[in-house]
């Protein structure tokens, strides 16, 4: 069950991976994840090799292992699911430390654990080295439909506004003697949400009309991030190639 997305994952420093164009990073991340998922679950060596590869990219990006491990806790519900499977699975059983566990369940649990973890590490590296704005630019250059890019652009622009507005409203409630506890907060929370939406929409409408009157045509001007060069594509795809080689050799 979800907790919030209160933290931006982007690590704000410079590195060769940070400088790579976003479209290259998105492509590489997706293809690497596909290769990991396609790897047969018995290929233990391949998964170790992926981990080494991810470690190398993380080193190049100067993203520390401690940060990666802490952030990969996002995966915990699925780890729990994976841990349950050996106990509930059917088929032949094996003795592990005196407990009879389903072989099929152990493999299924391992499969979820290792592919989930490697996938999260790849996504974390992508998020750590690319700002949200760059990610949208990358999607745009990868020919993502314009409507989706537009919605995503507006979404990121209004997100911080909404969060700040919500915080102001919460502080205002607290200042009026509001005591948030369990179910009691549902009412105030719900009433606040309706007001939040209207306040944000009316602000958004004004900003949009102002943008239209200044010549907005549905595309934002390209930011600083330069388009990917051949060298950048080569660098990004070499990581994909390494992953593919591991997947095929396994």
């Amino acid at each position: 069950m979800g907790a919030g997305h209160a933290h931006w994952l982007h690590r704000d420093h410079d590195s060769p991976v940070h400088r790579l164009a976003p479209e290259v990073k998105i492509t590489a991340a997706v293809l690497c994840t596909v290769a990991v998922v396609l790897t047969p679950r018995e290929a233990f060596g391949a998964f170790a090799a992926y981990l080494v590869l991810i470690g190398a990219v993380a080193g190049l990006a100067r993203v520390g292992p401690g940060w990666l491990i802490r952030r990969s806790a996002i995966e915990l519900p699925f780890v729990l699911f994976a841990v349950v499977l050996p106990f509930t699975g059917h088929g032949p059983r094996t003795q592990v430390l005196g407990v009879a566990l389903s072989v099929e369940g152990l493999y299924a649990g391992w499969n979820i654990l290792v592919k989930g973890t490697l996938g999260v590490l790849v996504s974390l590296l992508l998020a750590a080295t690319t700002t949200p704005r760059e990610l949208i630019v990358g999607l745009d250059r990868l020919r993502c439909p314009q409507i989706l890019v537009q919605i995503a652009t507006f979404m990121l622009r209004y997100l911080q506004v909404l969060v700040d507005e919500a915080r102001r409203m919460r502080v205002a409630r607290l200042a009026r003697g509001y005591d948030p506890r369990f179910l009691w907060q549902v009412r105030a929370f719900a009433a606040g949400i309706g007001a939040l939406f209207l306040r944000a929409f009316e602000r958004g409408e004004r900003v949009y009309l102002a943008m239209l009157s200044r010549g907005y045509t549905g595309r934002l001007p390209e930011g600083r991030a330069p388009k990917a060069s051949k060298t950048q594509w080569t660098a990004g795809l070499s990581v994909v190639a390494a992953t593919a080689v591991i997947a095929v050799v396994s």
């Binding site: 979800g2 919030g4 088929g91 919605i151 507006f154 309706g194």
Partner: protein
């Protein structure tokens, strides 16, 4: 704000590769249809509205409400988006939220994106919208319709995972067990979602009824009926 960030979207490796691929294709074609239909809906005002609905869903997901002791849930937003901006743009809003969550927050596997989009953006939004339209037609007030549609849309979306697990999940859990495992917590999440949706929609309908897509079509229908009877 809460510090434990935990995923609720399907991660890599839960569902096998062929089924993930099939659902990626299903999600992609559903989105292609939505993009085509949304162009007709997306007038001047709907563009920022869609961005804001997406941002709103995103922001409200940051606030958790307690479901069970130790378990908290957050909004999925399919029904809310469908009521406010219509089913086509609504599905696109939820899709954008899911894609950005996968890329920016590592929530939901990149190869599971098709599964997540199918469940929450396509099934959730479609179920929510169809139900709201049916209830409004049966003269149920908007608040009640929004509440019921949200609860049902969340539970129906969670059952999308059951279908996917039946087709390509490992570990041999029985389908009945997975179905009840998914339905229970999601019913509670759905009630929270229903309350938020009902309150938001009724606040918007009170202050700016022109912004509510579900009401707009009903109003247009009434105008047509008046024209016909006149």
């Amino acid at each position: 704000m809460n510090n434990d960030v935990v995923a609720m979207h399907i991660s890599n490796g839960i569902i096998d590769a062929p089924v993930s691929g099939i659902f990626a294709a299903i999600a992609a074609s559903a989105i292609a249809v939505c993009v085509l239909r949304a162009r007709a809906d997306l007038d001047d005002r709907l563009a920022p509205m869609a961005g804001l609905v997406a941002a709103f869903i995103f922001a409200v997901q940051m606030l958790n409400f307690p479901v069970l002791p130790g378990v908290s849930g957050h909004l999925l937003g399919g029904a809310l988006a469908a009521i406010l901006v219509g089913p086509w743009v609504g599905a696109l809003c939820v899709t954008v939220v899911l894609v950005v969550q996968a890329l920016v927050f590592a929530d939901g596997g990149l190869t599971a994106l098709g599964l997540n989009v199918t469940n929450m953006a396509v099934i959730g939004t479609a179920a929510g919208y169809l139900l709201v339209v049916a209830l409004l037609r049966a003269r149920v007030p908007l608040v009640g319709a929004a509440f019921v549609a949200s609860v049902v849309s969340v539970v129906v979306a969670s059952q999308g995972f059951v279908l996917q697990y039946a087709l390509g999940g490992g570990g041999g859990l029985s389908i009945g067990a997975v179905a009840s495992l998914m339905a229970g917590p999601h019913l509670l999440i759905g009630i929270g979602e229903g309350l938020i949706t009902a309150v938001t929609v009724s606040a918007v309908a009170k202050a700016r009824p022109d912004l509510v897509y579900a009401l707009r079509t009903r109003r247009q229908r009434q105008q047509q009926e008046e024209l016909v009877s006149a």
